[in-house]
Structure formats: C-alpha cells, structure tokens
Symmetry: C2
Subunit: 258 residues, 2 copies
Amino acid sequence: MTPSALSPQQPPSRRIAEELRRQIESGDLHSGAKLPSERVLAEQYGAARNTAREAIRLLAEQGLVTAKHGKGVFVREPQRLFRFGSDRYSIKNRETGLTPFRLEAKRQGKVARIDVPSIAREKPPADVAERLNVPADEESVVHRENHYYADDEPVQIVSTYLRWDEARDTLLMQAKTGKDGIYGRLEDLGHVMTRVRDEISARMPTPAEARTLNLLPGVPVLEVLHTSLDQEGVPFEVSRYVHRADRTGLLYELPVEK
Amino acid sequence: MTPSALSPQQPPSRRIAEELRRQIESGDLHSGAKLPSERVLAEQYGAARNTAREAIRLLAEQGLVTAKHGKGVFVREPQRLFRFGSDRYSIKNRETGLTPFRLEAKRQGKVARIDVPSIAREKPPADVAERLNVPADEESVVHRENHYYADDEPVQIVSTYLRWDEARDTLLMQAKTGKDGIYGRLEDLGHVMTRVRDEISARMPTPAEARTLNLLPGVPVLEVLHTSLDQEGVPFEVSRYVHRADRTGLLYELPVEK
DNA sequence: TCGCCCAACTGGCTTGAGCCACTTGCTGGC
DNA sequence: GCCAGCAAGTGGCTCAAGCCAGTTGGGCGA
C-alpha cells in the first residue's frame, strides 16, 4: 500500500465520496438526511455533474446511501435486524403450532406471509445432490420454493429439497403440509431431526434475487445451505436460504464439543 | 413488477450487461476468460464507450467479473472456500497444539500467518460492552487486533475484547500468550469455554477493510460477533471477525435442542 | 545476443452537454 | 374552495471526446 493512497493524489470522485463519508460518520449528515443534489455537489467541488454522481455511486455501493428518483439522495437508515436463531430448528418451538418463521415474526410484532410459488419434481443442483446423497443427473428430488414476507416486505427466499422417493404421494407435494409443517410429515416418514449442518456464505445478489427481494444497490445476501440429519445421521432434507443482509442476521448458540 | 422490466424497454447498459451475464452463465465465456475490451464492446453494440463501461461496472458489482488495469476484464474464477467450522472452538482441537486458524490452514495445505498490529486498553464499542457485560464509557477492556493470512493472502480481521480487570498483568497483554493461546490463559483465570454465541451478518466493506483485506469491488464481508460463555454462563470474551466473503464460509454443525 | 525503449493496446477517470422520468409545490381557472 | 396542470427541482442514463496509467511485445541499437 503506497502512502499516496491516502488523499492527495486521489481522483476527485473518491475525494468527494470520502468527504461525504466523513460527514456521515461524524453525524454532520444524520441518518435519513438528504445529501446536496448532484448538481449542487458538482458546483461545490468544482467538478462535473458526472463526477459528483460517481462519488454518490461509490457511497451507494458501500451501502451508506440510497438514491430516490426525483427526490434526492439520503443517508441510509440503520435497519433493525430480523434475527434467525439456531433455535429455529428446536423441537420446543413446535409446541406453539407456528413454523419458525411465523414465530420469529410474531416475536417482532410483524405479520408473516409465506408464498409457495412452486413445488415440482426436478434434478437437484450439484451441491444439494451431494448433501442429500441422491443422484444429480436424475429427477431425484422435490423442490419446494418459498418466499417469506414480514409486513409485506420480502425477507428471504427458501428452496427446500426432499427425496422424491419419499415425498411422492404425500402432503409434502402440497402447499399445505399439515400440522408441524414439512418436519411433521418427515417425522411421519421416520426422520427425527437430530443434528443440523448450516453452511454460510455471503455474496452479491443476482439480478433476479435483487428483484424478488426488492434490494437496493450495495446490499449483499446471506446464503445458508442447510442440511437436516435424522437420528441415524442420515440427511433427509436440504434447504438453501437466501436472506437480504440489510434486514436479517443469523444467531447460532451452541455448546462447545469436547 | 411491471412486465416491461424484462428486456425491451431496458437501458442499453443493462442490456449489454445482461447479454454478457448470459454468455458467462452459459459457459460461452468460461471462467478466467477475457471479455472484449470496452472500446470493442461499445462498437459491437453501437454504444458509447462509457455505456459499455457502465455495463462492465454492473457485472463487477455483482461479483461476476474483475477488471485489471492495462490488461482487460476477466470472468472471475470461483474461489475455493476457506471454511471456518463451529468445531473451531472444540477442546479436542487443542490437543494438536495449533490455534484453530492454523489448524484450518494446515488442513488446506496453506501457510498461516497471524499479525498482531495492536494490543491496547480501550473503551469498548457499545455492542461489545453489552455482550461482555462491562461499562461502555470506561476503558474497561483490552482490545487485541489480529490480521490473519493464508499463503500471504489476507483472510480475516479479528478484534478480541477481554475484561481489563482480568487481563491486566497477564500474558493476555502480550502478543505471545503461551500454550493454547488466549483460551489457555482464560482457563487459568477459571473460565472454561462451555457455550458460544455467534451473531452473523453481511455487509459491504468499509474502504479501510477493503484495503487491508485487499478486496475487489463487489465482494462483501461476513461479520461474526462471537461471545464465549464459561461453565457458569458468564461471558468472558467477545470477538468481532470480519471475513472476506469471496474466500471464506462458515460451517455450523449442531445438535437440535429439545 | 541481449536489453532497452517505444508504440499500441488495455482500463481509470473526467468533462460538459443533453434528454428522460419522477416528485413537488405553486398557480390560475373554474 | 378545489383541482388540473405546469414549472422547477431531482436522479437516471447516454454521448463523444480527451487525457492518464498500467501492460505487452516487437524492433532496434549496442
């Protein structure tokens, strides 16, 4: 890292962005405040409008700021997190009769809605096939796609994969799966969830995800690839969760293994 | 979502980006391949260079593509993940005499390096103070900052916070903390790690983080706020992990609680 | 043969101009 | 008193041109 990377030799757009970032972090521009318009910024810094525009783009990329067409550019409000705890898999939550998402929504005083856009027999993606221990080149799974909303705001996209040979001709092929949801039906099939494995990563959303999650630029997604193991250590369900990272977090609380 | 959001009425830059994305996903442009230069793209699509440039910027934002000054724009190679498992806290890993990071690096055949840029008594950030149960308005903690490298590539930034009243006058104030690292010294103080709580979120990096982690545009970070609880449920250590999300993932494997 | 240098290519960034679409508030007509 | 419509302000996006800074390879001179 050369020392010149600091501020003197920096291009104007970065200098403007840095100056605005400083103002935001120091509180001069409070949360929700409106930034000067692109044309005004350009004049203030003696630059072209496109240069001011580029500075704002940099801040938007960092998730600091949001542009609203026709209105202005605003400092992004910190969003309170919608938190998914590892106890979402806990049996005791079953007793409430609510699915984990509805339970979490209720805790936060929000109205949950769950759409089921599709349920279909499919070839599994490679990573799912590997974890569910089924062939990737056959239509060996049932894919249930769910969209979750809290107060009509999209929160997460979930793709659940089940073995076709187990799910066929059961309620698992229906949108309404009955008491205790899919885990209830999977218990009927002899699978008691005993351990779970969650693989977590983060990335920028695809355009399709940005659209269904209604994401602003500069917001990444959290991806969780979840595997449920039964009392015999057999994987019987794999789900891919795609969360918007500006609204959601994950909480894992676990004992330290000897 | 209006149907016009599909492709006809789209601005040219998006149209070009979408076309390139299609070529990348279909494999026409394989991983590592060089895209046509900005000037060539512009001509191909009958657009200005700036418009082609904008299309490339969109793809870079999505993490699909990386520009190299003077060389060209290339399809980003999928990076193998450096995976941090929840067993990184496990006692049995102590027996190897390696810290969790060195152990994981060794598993993957890489050379681990850990820098300790600073160890200092400080006022804790609010979220840390709350979790460690210390006052936020006093210099109540010791802050140990660590930078982790695998094969000289930066992987994560870790800030560990310990109670000042416990850490003072111990090896916890030194870079070299002795056998079993800080957890060994904390056990000497009577804290056996019994449960852990990890709070996970994702966001875009700050410019400072992008610099120390050597991050390309379009790569988010995973942030883990970790709390260690002892045999009596008392929190005795809080750490903030900032991982580059293009190289690292997290793995949690845990029993389902009744 | 070796090595230096330069030309031609790449992306990085800015300029200044223009048109479009969305939002807001004011004003004038009914 | 109401409301339609317009004007002024905002960001969205494009264009054409230009200069700068890395990268590469070929050719020329020692």
